[in-house]
Amino acid sequence: MAKRLLVCLLYILVALGLCGCWNYRGLDQVNIVVGIAVDFDKENNEYKMSYEVADLLTAEKRSNIGSRIITSEGKNLFDAARNAKKKELNRLYFGSSYVLVISQQFAEKEGIFDAIEWFLRDGECRETMCVALSQEDTAAVILKKDEKMSGIMSSIIHEIITKDKSVTASTIHMQLYDIYNMLKSKGNAAILPALRKTKNGDREVTEANGSAVFKGDKLAGFLTPEESRYVLFAEDKLEGGILTLDMLGRETDDISLEIFRSDTKKSFSYQQERLKVKIESSIDVSVAENHEELDLTNEEVIKRIEEAAEVMIEEKIKAVVAKVQQEYQADIFNFSDMVYKRDLKLWEELEPHWDEVFSNIEIEVSSKVHIVNSGFIK
């Protein structure tokens, strides 16, 4: 019996060493970071990080919890993150941070890969953290709230970006590991949501403004919110949003279609030294807004609307792919990965001059719009 007990205790002792490096960490001894902004200070040649932390010291127990900004500088990211402790009572805790904002200058000059790599490598950060690019002068300004606002900016930004694909479909939600995967895949390109400051009534707020395209890990250019929607179409990431059409030729879009479901398939063929990519999308929509002139009980009218929508989607997708192909040469649609995974021989043939191949891919788009619900009102 004593021997058995001893063996059990030994097992437990051995097992304890295998349980990783968790520490007892009192919740009252940490600053909960909810958002991080990364800037690069050219003059001093150092990294500048800003953290939005939950402001627990001044908060009342029964009120909303606000936030404050802490900044720190350092020779590299980890150095900067540790330096924050110099000014603060408690150390920073990254486990609950939602948003990582990277400044435009930083992305243009330094490239984002090192930053992404560090945040992934650090054990505390979430891989699902939402990454975005600031279109303002610095990234820190995105996290700043208007004085009239309460609450936490980062969670607002997080909500804006994550809910976007099913409501407005104007930007793209990218998580930390997504970006890393994209940068490490054959395409070596990435796309991030772009954020800017704007006025909303008398308040200054942050707004999602399309997306930013990366060639390698360096910023190549931007896509407008509308172009971003068709990127979502092509990427099969769309979950909602609306399409507006001008059916009556009155220069205004007089009918709105709400997207219920969208399904996109991509395929490719290689003929006569030329790569051809086929994008087929099928979309279920309902009529959400209509002018009286259009009689939705008439099957002919429905057919006409569907056809018009199909044509519009096909053109827009073609246009955005062409723009990315010609202007940025960044394979954000991951065509390279598709070829690599489905036809390795072909990929090995194409790889040395992939940039050239990518710019010359022939794109064929076909879409099928199906109005499942006319929202008929008697």
Partner: protein, 517 residues
Amino acid sequence: MLRFLKKLCAGKATDLDEKIARLNYPLEEHKFSRSLDENVAVIKKLFNNVDIVQYKMIQSPGKDPIRYFLIFIDGVVHSEIVNNNIVEPLMTKRPEGGEPLLESLLATVVQVGESKKINTFKALIESVTHGDTVLFVEGCDQAAVLNTKQFAVRSIAEPDNEKVLSGPRDGFTESLIQNLSQILRRARTNELKTKTMTLGKRTQTTVCICYLDSLVNKDVLEELLRRLNKIDIDGILDSNYITEQIHDFPNSPFRTVGSTERPDVVLAKLLEGRIAVLVDNTPVALTVPYLFIENFQVNEDYYFNFYYSSFSRMLRIMGFFLTLAVPGLYIAVVAFHQEILPLQLLMRIALERQNVPLPAAVEAVIMLIVFDILRETGVRMPSNIGQALSIVGALVIGQAAVEASLVAAPMIIMVAATGITSLLVPKLNAPIIFWRLLLLLLASSFGFFGLTIGLSLLFIHLNNLKSFGVDHLSLEGSFSFQKNKDIFIRSPWPDMIERPEELSENEVRQQGGGNNG
């Protein structure tokens, strides 16, 4: 003359005393002698200083009177029976018929329903202290035990800790005979066997083993009898004295012997092939074998609609895990794995934890002990000062401690949840208190890892437990409906076709009565 008589008496007594003193082994081992005086002398010596014992010398009427001697204890005999049915006829009638005298006395004079003959002092002591009256007759080396028992017995009432909303409301009392009568009333069959034995050297407590002959698992019965016969104890005041001596794992906090105060529960268990042990002087009956799931089964489950019962039973099972794991879980999350919490919840807890002096783990241990102190006080204190407890408990500890930032509010909520859920499974309170603290300590040292280790240990321990050779936590069963009909859910009665196979030798309960068996 007087002096001579005195001397004669004294001399006679001295003779007897000497004779008694010469006996070299204990008096109670001796058989009665033919001499009435000698028997009386021995009895008086045996009951020396037991002033409550009554002796009565009686003579029969007529010429050549026969001398009788009665011995009984005041208070435990029915004095009307003694006076009217024993003393009066003995004084007024002579026995008719011939020898033996004792037989003809019982047949023609004494008017008592139950009587038997004994011939040792040991049997005499047992009978007299139990409320019987013993009758000696001059010249007989046997005595008659006449049943004149009468005890003050509590009336049948609903047991306080097994109250039901619907269903039978009678409960056991301290009288074994009354308890047996309640069981017999429910099962009018000769299959119901009641074996009695006497345990406890000094208390001589009657213990009765009940089972249904055609259903019982003979191996279990044999094992139970073997263990009961091995008991060597001087007194048995409650059935728990027996529980702990027939337990398969005496050191485990989990019990592998069931207990109940309700006859309907006992009968339900008998009908599943279990065995009940009734102990005199206690209202708590034991049932074996006892499976782990019985901790969560309540007699009301079978009296209410099965949807409602199944839901309640699942709540109880959930309550068990909650009350075990919530303190550990809370500490593991708050001190080790904060990232598991949604931001709003994390910030709220962090806000509450600002300025609280103690680390969360220490706080949890203290608060759990405070809760247990309150609970124990509630049980022990006189009921008329109950208000003081609720004021101190609710106001001082609940509100003032949080207001003063001595204790974080989430901790109070956590302790309250733990306390309330532990009341869902009162039968498991012993293991819960022990394992909860163990899990809490493991979680405060190693987070989820420690919690997992602790729960695994618990599971391994439960798996090792056996109750009279039957697995306490039976897991190897198939997934068939009949095996699981009464575990997480309580199936409707028409579907309860089989008895639990390891408990009963006669598995089928209903012949083709079910509709989806």
